[in-house]
């Protein structure tokens, strides 16, 4: 049992679950997707990215790249939201944002699979 490993795993899994929570719901219904959930997903995803810094192993590098992919899409979604809210109808804006977060969800999903496979590969 290692506190560092617990925190590491916690943030990676939390990044995915928050992302999933935001993604869940009708793609064009703004009431199903709350802005604070996206906010939390971005913050947790950023923290997970920084936690992955500095690992020189191959798996470490792939983990970092999946996180970066998720960050870029989530931040793009947030920028769209901030820039376009009130300028176009809510339904189509929500479609843009939720589909971007869906892409981020895939990246987070890969990240979690890598984490699990690495854990299984460990003997202890």
């Amino acid at each position: 049992m290692n506190l560092e490993k617990v925190i590491f795993g916690f943030f990676i899994v939390l990044a995915m679950t928050l992302n999933f929570g935001f993604f869940l719901g009708d793609i064009d219904n703004p009431h199903h997707h709350h802005v604070y959930e996206l906010y939390a997903a971005i913050i947790v995803s950023l923290v997970a990215t920084v936690l992955k810094f500095g690992d020189r192993t191959h798996v470490g590098a792939i983990l970092l790249s999946t996180s970066l992919a998720a960050d870029i899409q989530l931040i793009a979604a947030a920028i769209l939201w901030a820039a376009l809210s009130g300028k176009m109808d809510d339904a189509s804006l929500t479609v843009y944002i939720v589909s971007l977060s869906g892409g981020a969800l895939m990246a987070n999903f890969v990240s979690v699979i890598l984490l699990i496979s690495e854990t299984i590969g460990q003997r202890r």
Partner: protein, 565 residues
């Protein structure tokens, strides 16, 4: 570059997480605080607005309360946010600045930069595993000859000297331990253009370690190593070190050569010195009884070589039990009574060979007063004592660093030259004198350039082309001027290597064959002239046949038309 980036990222993990967490708390709280807009309606900052506000507050820019004046609740939270975010922000900036001044990081950056500049070398280069006195002479000469050099040295002060030195091309250098294989790899041991490794530190163990490491990593690569102890030299030889240089043995041999064959010696010196220098006429050491002060490695080599020439020696040594000499006069040689005991007044020569420059000077000055006709051989250990030694003007001044540098140059500039010199040593004195007069007649009194060419497709395309067409090219053709075939270039072929059989001073009428290697000596002009005739088949045809081959279509047609008529 990769490792540096990861090093920075790893160190910045903690401050970055701290910033993200503090910002997220501040932004979240601010977007939840109730406020009132200019119409008195309830209003809240959106997450984006809160992010904008916290960003300019945390970085202490502070644009003020926009878009509306804030409520008490918002102000309260903002006050809290300022303390929450400004402190981690400065902590992170401080961390980045400390990181940039960090020695480990700086070392990583210089190492990386060194490795990259070595990787980018596009021409043959040598690796020098030290930058001491002999290595600096070597680096300077190689640089002047347009050859690239890479230096690894463990002492920063010596590298500072290199930093300040004026060089033709950039010399990549690294302050690191050459014994470590990773440093040798960074210096380019596996680089396709690396033409050899030279290790000349004054520590035999280091030289051995480098030689072994290089031979294991890249067995093809020539290694020149300095070794003063016989066991180390034997160890190096067993690993296939190509040239083992012992300055004391070399000097002993040269002294013996001077005694019995001054001509051979002059030839040797003339061909290994730095091109362009003029050599003073060397003194011929007298035969008779010599006094040798100091029976260390240098003294032993001198005594051994003198005795081989049937010259008797009297040894003066301060610590006979350490150096293991049986019949010697105990004393340092700096006092008159020790020298008188060695019967200096009836001796013909004195060798001051201790490892202390001031003692050596004192020995020869005392001896000179007792017997002004003495032939003086003095050992110079440190280059910065140059002025003192010039003042004294001994018959022979032996400087280990120069001997090492000359020997290395002979091997590095033209590998055939070393083979030539070995063969010269077995020739008679009169043969050498004859060759010298021949050389002086062609290239003059100054030290000539030495270079080798091999007859093959890539280096001498013109010769290969003519040979393929059945036109024979002789050595004589190579000595003709490509601008005017009746004139001769100022060069002399010294050695022809055909099927690994060397031919010393080959006759000028010898026909060339593909695969031959030829060693030339001559002026720099002659070298560039030769370069034209071996590369340009038109020039070579002119030299061989005296015919100017027309280049363009029209002239070829005109010439063919005239010939038919």
């Amino acid at each position: 570059m990769n490792s540096i980036l990861f090093l920075i990222l790893r160190r910045l993990r903690r401050p970055l997480i701290l910033i993200i967490v503090c910002f997220s708390i501040a932004i979240l709280g601010l977007s939840l605080m109730p406020g009132v807009d200019d119409n008195g309606q309830p209003w809240r900052l959106s997450i984006f607005e809160a992010f904008y506000l916290i960003s300019y507050t945390a970085t202490t820019i502070g644009f003020g309360e926009i878009p509306y004046a804030y409520s008490q609740a918002q102000r309260l939270w903002l006050t809290f946010s300022i303390y929450l975010t400004v402190i981690p922000w400065f902590y992170a900036i401080g961390k980045i600045i400390t990181l940039l001044q960090d020695n480990a990081l700086r070392q990583a950056i210089t190492t990386e930069r060194f490795a990259r500049s070595v990787q980018n070398l596009k021409e043959p280069f040598y690796i020098l595993c030290s930058y001491g006195e002999s290595a600096s002479v070597l680096a300077k000469t190689l640089d002047e000859k347009g050859m690239r050099v890479v230096v690894i040295e463990s002492q920063q002060e010596r590298l500072n000297e290199l930093d300040l030195a004026e060089t033709r091309s950039v010399i990549p250098h690294l302050c690191a331990d050459a014994k470590l294989p990773e440093n040798l790899i960074r210096a380019g041991v596996h680089h396709p253009f690396c033409s050899g490794v030279v290790t000349l530190t004054d520590n035999d163990e280091v030289n051995l370690a480098v030689a072994v490491a290089v031979k294991l990593m890249n067995p093809e690569l020539p290694v020149l190593a300095r070794a003063e102890r016989d066991d180390i030299a034997a160890n190096m030889a067993s690993f296939g070190t190509d040239h083992i240089i012992n300055p004391y043995t070399l000097f002993g041999e040269q002294l013996a050569m001077r005694v019995h064959a001054i001509g051979t010696y002059i030839l040797h010196e003339w061909l290994t010195d730095v091109p362009g220098d003029t050599l003073p006429p060397p003194e011929n050491p007298p035969r008779g009884r010599w006094v040798v002060c100091g029976y260390g490695r240098f003294g032993k080599s001198v005594v051994e070589n003198l005795e081989r020439e049937n010259i008797t020696t009297t040894i003066v040594e301060a610590t006979p039990e350490l150096t293991g000499c049986d019949h010697c006069i105990v004393g340092s040689g700096t006092e008159a009574h020790t020298l008188l005991e060695a019967d200096i007044t009836n001796a013909v020569g004195i060798v001051a060979g201790t490892d202390n420059d001031i003692n050596n000077l004192s020995i020869v000055m005392t001896a000179y007063e007792l017997n002004p006709k003495l032939f003086v051989v003095i050992r110079k250990n440190r280059r910065h004592n140059d002025t003192l030694f010039k003042q004294f003007n001994a018959d022979i001044t032996m400087q280990p660093t120069e001997i090492i540098a000359h020997e290395c140059l002979a091997h590095m500039i033209a590998p055939l030259l070393a083979q030539f010199l070995t063969m010269v040593r077995t020739q008679s004195n009169s043969w050498a004198n004859h060759l010298i007069s021949e050389l002086v007649a062609v290239v003059g009194e100054t030290v000539p350039e030495r270079w080798a060419i091999s007859i093959n497709e890539s280096t001498t395309p013109a010769i290969v082309e003519l040979l393929k067409n059945g036109i024979s090219v002789s050595l004589h053709n190579l000595t003709q001027d490509p601008a005017d075939r009746s004139k001769a270039l100022n060069l002399v072929p010294l050695l022809l290597l055909r099927d690994n059989v060397p031919m010393l001073v080959p006759p000028i009428a010898t026909g060339l064959r593909v695969g031959d290697q030829i060693l030339f000596c001559g002026t720099a002009d002659a070298r560039s002239g030769l370069n034209i005739s071996v590369n340009n088949s038109k020039a070579l045809t002119y030299i061989v046949d005296g015919i100017e081959v027309p280049d363009s279509l029209v002239w070829r047609w005109v010439k063919g038309f005239l010939a038919r008529k």
